[in-house]
Every structure is written in structure tokens, then in C-alpha cells.
């Protein structure tokens, strides 16, 4: 295994009495995409801020790019990093092309060196036709892609992307995924936080599941699912004639599943073999069933619970 590109060890951060990040360690290998998933308030953004030297950890240390330390060597590390933050910070007064040129100067790259790169970056962001448009005239997806292009002005080794596709429509999201996959093929490494499990499954070679600032699982998406879940899920939407979802969960049907959960009017049966359960369900009228393989979302909900987190 090659030496890690980025290594965080035993990170800890408290705000007042709340521990936001608690003994968190992880590594990013060259060329890999590490996904960080977790409910609101799990500590994802604080972790990224510590990785960028914007927040000083209360404990632990961060080493990157061959012996550089954060926050002491913040500038040297950031010279080789590309960042897309959760909220766009594009310059509204500059055109797309000017945004790239102005941002490159912060890396010590002058206009003369940057200007020839601009068409290539705009092409990468599928914004060639918008070179002279200002961010305010762009759609949400275009703005996110411009942010991504801006993060590439210094040809970084490692990209840190904080929820890069939040708020985008499916077309814009797919285009973003396609571009991120292209960057991975070029050999770049990515640290990505996301709320979208399909995004995490599609892009990430490895996942870190955070909750309450702690790492509660780590591994390849498929391995995590196999390790924590039964392979089949049968979702059953009840109706009044059959009683509540809870009643269904407690019926003899539960013997045909390894694990049963309810959420609102839906019953989730997790099982090694769905056939007997599906047969038994056809005996009951007025039920709609949906049989699918277990996915990352099931894993996420199993590990972090179904309750809403609205304080993050």
C-alpha cells in the first residue's frame, strides 16, 4: 500500500460543552475517493475545516503530502489542494473566466500563465459558452461546476469537496459525477462529504460513516453493506384493512425476515432470502410491496437511526 497522501490522527474538537469531532482518524491514499457521510451535525464540515487549517483541533494532528503538518504548513499544503466548499463563494462581479484568473493569483499563478488554461477549465466545467457570463446568470449546477473548475486552477493533487451536489437537479448531478470520475481517472484524490448515498456508492472507493463526531464505520461501500446488512429488502406499504405498519412488523411475517423496521406507514423487512416472505405477502390483500437489494441508505439508517437531525 502506498504512503497515504493525507492522514488525520485522533482529531478532537469541542465547542463549549459539545464535542463536535471525537477521536477521528482516517487516511486518504493517492488516487482514492474517500467519502464522508453522516447526518447533519455529525462533524463533517468541522472535519473538513480542520483539514484546511481553518479550525484548529483541540487534539490530534494532521499530516499531508509528505510530511507537511496542518496548521503549521497550511500554505504549503493548500498550494496543492483544491477546495469546493458547501456554499459557493464565487465572485459575483467577475465573469466565469475572470473568476478563474483572479482565483489563480491567490496561488501565485499570474494572468499570463493562467490565461491559456482558462478555456480548458471552462470546457471541463461545460461552461465554454458562458465564459463571459457572471455567476449570478448561471444555474445552480453551472455555479457548482465553476466552483469545481476554480478548485482546479492550481492542478491540485487532492480535492476536498463539501457536499458538491446538494441542491442540484439529477441532470446537473450526473454531469458533476461524470466530471469527478474523470478527475479520479486522471489520478487525483478526492475527499467528499455528501448526503446522497447513491453519490457515495458511485464515486467513493472507501467510506467513513460519522455520527456525533465519531467514526462508526469505515470501509468499501459494498463491503460495508455486506458486513452490516442482509442482502434483500422488502418494503411493504400497509393499508388500514391490515392494520398499522407496526402491527405488520409484529405479525408472524417477522419470522421470515432477519430484521424488521417501521417508518411511518412503511414496514422494512431485511432478509437473506426474500422468496418465502414475498409468497406470504401475496396472501394478504391491499398491500403494495417493493423488493430491492440492500443499499447504502439502509446501512446509513441502520447505523445512525431514523430520527430527524435538524439541529446541525
Amino acid at each position: 500500500m502506498p504512503a497515504p497522501l493525507f492522514q488525520a490522527s485522533h482529531l478532537r474538537k469541542r465547542y463549549g460543552d459539545t464535542t463536535v469531532v471525537d477521536d477521528l482518524s482516517f487516511e486518504i491514499a493517492p488516487g482514492e475517493c474517500l467519502g464522508v457521510i453522516g447526518p447533519n451535525g455529525a462533524g463533517k464540515t468541522t472535519t473538513i475545516r480542520m483539514c484546511l487549517g481553518l479550525t484548529t483541533p483541540d487534539g490530534g494532528h494532521i499530516e499531508a503530502l509528505g510530511g507537511l503538518r496542518m496548521p503549521q504548513d497550511a500554505r504549503a499544503i493548500k498550494a496543492q489542494l483544491g477546495v469546493v466548499s458547501q456554499f459557493d463563494s464565487l465572485d459575483p462581479d467577475f465573469s466565469c473566466a475572470e473568476n478563474l484568473i483572479v482565483y489563480a493569483r491567490y496561488f501565485g499563478i499570474g494572468q499570463r500563465a493562467m490565461a491559456p488554461q482558462v478555456p480548458r477549465l471552462l470546457e471541463f466545467a461545460a461552461l465554454s459558452h458562458k465564459a463571459d457570463a457572471k455567476p449570478g446568470d448561471l444555474s445552480g449546477g453551472m455555479r457548482r461546476r465553476l466552483s469545481l473548475a476554480r478548485a482546479l486552477v492550481n492542478d491540485p493533487k487532492l480535492l476536498m469537496l463539501d457536499e458538491p451536489t446538494t441542491g442540484l437537479d439529477p441532470q446537473a448531478r450526473h454531469l458533476m459525477w461524470e466530471r469527478l470520475q474523470r478527475l479520479l481517472q486522471e489520478g487525483k484524490s478526492i475527499l467528499l462529504t455528501t448526503h446522497f448515498m447513491d453519490e457515495a456508492e458511485r464515486l467513493c472507493s472507501r467510506l467513513l460513516v460519522l455520527d456525533h463526531g465519531r467514526k462508526i464505520a469505515e470501509g468499501r461501500p459494498r463491503d460495508l453493506i455486506a458486513q452490516h446488512l442482509e442482502p434483500h429488502v422488502v418494503e411493504v406499504y400497509g393499508n388500514n384493512a391490515n392494520g398499522s405498519a407496526q402491527a405488520l412488523a409484529e405479525s408472524p411475517l417477522k419470522e421470515l425476515a432477519a430484521r424488521v423496521e417501521t417508518s411511518g406507514e412503511t414496514t422494512f423487512f431485511y432478509t437473506q432470502d426474500a422468496r418465502p416472505l414475498l409468497d406470504a405477502l401475496t396472501q394478504r390483500d391491499g398491500l403494495r410491496t417493493f423488493h430491492r437489494p440492500a443499499n447504502l441508505e439502509d446501512l446509513f439508517l441502520k447505523l445512525t437511526g431514523r430520527q430527524i437531525r435538524e439541529d446541525g
Binding site: 481553518l54 479550525t55 463563494s89 491567490y106
Partner: protein
């Protein structure tokens, strides 16, 4: 201060009071502001210069005919000269303050421009320095233009105006440092209203811009002499009258002290704001 340092060293976090870490990376940030401003320079020029000139013409020529001459250090000077030399200091103060409050706050808080910049290898200290110098530059730009108009109006043509210009540059920087303290503390634009009505407006009337300080009661005068604007006026007015200011070293020292302490305080408070 010692209490703050002690508590900071306890937790091993770097103190917000640590010395500024400044590098040449402030320049691309300054340049960014310059490029945005270039797009809006003409309307900005008119806005920055029209108001002070309206004041000057209305009060200088209007009030001037009523007041006639004003006594400065035992010498009678036309009111228009008295007012021009005071109000140009006020213009430097206003230009720097507006930029370091409303515009800097937009970039820092609303547009998140600072956050974007700090994801690149540019530290917060350099960003604050760039904003301070940028607001200072806005003051230079405004006062230079007003000085030009004053020359055309033949209010003063002393060669010492070059020195007055340098003092105004320094005053712009001083007020930009002070304003950045309030930028660091602001939750929203409304906060700046307090700064303008509770600090800048009283200071305008207590600094000898419109009438000589000697008109004020002794106690008020004693306080007023330590105000930054009063010290700027005390330096600039004699230069407009083609004289070297008395106690120039003291006035200069007061301005420099304000600038240094205010910049350090602004930097510490801004670091605190961003250390989340």
C-alpha cells in the same frame, strides 16, 4: 491582556493576539478589489466626490459669506479654506470607513469571498491587511480627486499640499484600521449605523472640521484633542495655510498609535470571528 494570553496558552490553541503573520499574498487580494472597483469606478468616483463638494460649496460659500474669516492660531483665514482643510480629512475618514465597513462586510460575510480566498494559500492576516490597505486606497483616491477640485477652485495652492496629501493617506489608513474593528464585530449591516451615528458624527463636530475647537468647553476640548480626526485636521489645516503644523510629531504619533492598535485589535477580533 495578560489574562487573555494566559487562558490561551492553557488550551494550547494559538492566541488571537499573536503577532500578525503578513506575507506578499495580500497583493492578489488587494488586486481583486481593485479589479472589481475598476468596473464601477466612474459612478463610484461621482458618489465619492460629489457629496463632499456639495458640502464644501454650500457651507463654504454660503456660510462663508456669513462667517467671513476664522481665527486659526492667531491668524485670520477665509472660512472656505478653514472648511476645505477640515472636510477633506472628513472625506478621507468617510471613504475609508464605508469601504472597510459595508464593502468589506459584504465580501467577508455576505459573498463569502474571504472564505473562498482562504481555501487558497492565503492566510486571514493577509486578507485583513489587504482589506485595510484597500480601504486606505479608496480614501487616497477620493481625497486626491477632491484635492484636485480644490486646486481648480483655487482654495489653496500651497506646495505643502503634497505633504497634506501624505497625511491624508495616513489618515485613510488609520480610519480603515478602526473601521475593521467594527467589521469584525458586526452581525449585520445595521450594526454600522451605530458606528456612524455614535462615533463618526460626534467626532466630526468635535474635531474642528466646521468650527474651531476653541469654541468648545475646556473639558470637551481636552477629550477632542485625542480624537483621530482632530489630529488629522490639526496636521492638514496649517499645510493648507502654507504653514508647518505645530506639534506635528505629537499629532502624527497619535494617528500612528491609533492605526497600530486598531489594526492589531481588528486582526485579533477577526481571527476570533473566523476561529469557529
Amino acid at each position: 491582556m495578560s489574562a487573555v494570553q494566559a487562558s490561551a496558552s492553557d488550551s494550547s490553541l494559538p492566541s488571537v493576539w499573536r503577532p500578525p503573520q503578513l506575507t506578499w499574498r495580500w497583493w492578489p487580494v488587494f488586486l481583486r478589489n481593485l479589479l472589481v472597483w475598476k468596473k464601477l469606478a466612474l459612478p463610484s468616483l461621482i458618489g465619492n466626490i460629489a457629496e463632499p463638494l456639495i458640502w464644501l460649496v454650500a457651507f463654504g460659500y454660503g456660510m462663508g459669506t456669513l462667517v467671513g474669516q476664522v481665527n486659526v492660531n492667531g491668524q485670520a483665514v477665509p472660512y472656505i479654506l478653514f472648511l476645505a482643510s477640515g472636510s477633506i480629512c472628513m472625506s478621507a475618514m468617510n471613504a475609508a470607513s464605508f469601504e472597510a465597513l459595508y464593502s468589506a462586510f459584504s465580501r467577508m460575510h455576505v459573498q463569502k469571498t474571504w472564505d473562498g480566498i482562504m481555501n487558497a494559500p492565503v492566510g486571514l492576516d493577509d486578507v485583513v491587511l489587504a482589506e485595510m490597505l484597500w480601504a486606505g486606497f479608496k480614501a487616497i483616491f477620493t481625497t486626491t480627486a477632491i484635492l484636485g477640485v480644490m486646486l481648480i477652485l483655487n482654495i489653496s495652492h500651497s506646495p505643502k499640499l503634497i505633504v497634506a496629501w501624505l497625511v491624508l493617506v495616513g489618515a485613510g489608513v488609520t480610519f480603515s484600521c478602526i473601521a475593521l474593528i467594527f467589521n469584525a464585530l458586526a452581525k449585520g449591516y445595521d450594526f454600522f449605523t451605530y458606528y456612524f451615528t455614535l462615533f463618526m458624527t460626534p467626532m466630526m463636530f468635535l474635531s474642528g472640521v466646521f468650527f474651531p475647537l476653541e469654541q468648545l468647553p475646556g473639558v470637551v476640548q481636552a477629550v477632542a484633542r485625542w480624537l483621530p480626526l482632530a489630529n488629522a485636521v490639526a496636521l492638514v489645516r496649517p499645510l493648507f495655510m502654507d504653514q508647518w503644523p505645530a506639534h506635528w510629531l505629537q499629532h502624527l504619533a497619535v494617528l500612528v498609535a491609533y492605526a497600530l492598535v486598531a489594526f492589531w485589535l481588528a486582526l485579533a477580533l477577526t481571527r476570533k470571528r473566523f476561529a469557529k
